[in-house]
């Protein structure tokens, strides 16, 4: 019985640890008026990142990046999640395939710890 409680507690601590880890690695991006805000993101290199994109427009968009090899439809008034990395230091362009002239952005992966 005691062992079971210990196991449950251990599992709970593990879940808490994992959720805090994912919270640290989460980056938020907003799509409003066919513009990605912020248009430039600085992120830590060599780490897996969870990119949460909030499409606040009334139209769908497609997040597309040749550099990151990512493609995802962003439905209107919905949030979407994409995992990127671990990225080598450098610049990675992304754009909205449905409105490529306006919806553009850049992810800069940096070695430094304070990249945000």
């Amino acid at each position: 019985m005691c062992n079971r409680i210990k196991l449950i507690l251990l599992g709970f601590v593990g879940i808490l640890y994992m959720s805090s880890l994912s919270a640290d690695n989460t980056i938020s991006l907003v799509l409003r008026d066919h513009l990605f805000i912020p248009a430039q993101l600085e992120v830590p290199a060599n780490r897996k990142l969870r990119l949460v994109i909030d499409n606040q427009d009334m139209t769908a968009e497609e997040f597309d990046s040749f550099d990151l090899n990512r493609e995802k439809v962003l439905f209107p008034r919905r949030k979407s999640v994409i995992y990127i990395g671990p990225l080598s230091p450098g610049e990675y362009r992304f754009f909205g395939e449905f409105s490529p002239n306006t919806a553009q952005g850049l992810i800069i992966a940096k070695e430094s710890r304070d990249a945000s």
Binding site: T59, E62, N69, K79, V81, I82
Partner: protein, 252 residues
Amino acid sequence: MLLNTVIISLNQFLPLGVLWVLLSLYPPSTLENREFSHTLGVFVFGLISCFIYLWLAGDVSQWFDFLGLELAQITFLCGIYASVLALIVSNYWLYKYSALVCAMLAYLSHFMTYLSSYGQVGMAKSMLIGTVLGMGLCVSFIILLYFSLVWVRNMYSKNWLIALITLHCASKIATATDLASQVDLISASSEVFNLKWLLDEYSIIGRVLKALIGYEASPSMLSLASFLIAVFVMLIAFQYRMKMIKIRGKGA
């Protein structure tokens, strides 16, 4: 908007058109009346399925901690591969059409999302022209592909068709692997090589090769491994089919 619509429609119609051509040549009976009515029925069924999926897609995208859309896409892509594999092994006509319905859900639903979003905001005219142009280019290409493949099959060997079906279907598994990596279902792996200096997959030739055989200029290790395994499994299925034909030939 016009040019963008042409590019998007080409990207979405071309993989569907290529699969349709490849399957209509395997097994070689495409101009029979019954096959035409089957294809028409499948097209209508696929369109209805796309509308239902489109209606649900916004909600689906929020399922399983925002993994829903990728899971659906992975299911459709694996559905194409599994259907073609089952078609080769069993030679049962229904699998040909289930592959086409899966392809319509995977590609056409994407295009319909674009049309339904932007068709409502006063861009309908340029989108219509763009769609017609994109479809026209796609139809021209698949007609050319169809007759080229018929010529190659008659002049040389049907092994070329088998190779093209194998590579095309295996590319669906590679794409599904990339999607799984996109939502962290499997860990992202490093790229094996980078051929962007030679041929970018977003150039004209690159896009055509991507639609035909799933060309990737910089594939990840997992994506390449899954592609090769899928090729291997499909080749075994073709070998099995050939063996069965030989056994039946001897029996008769």
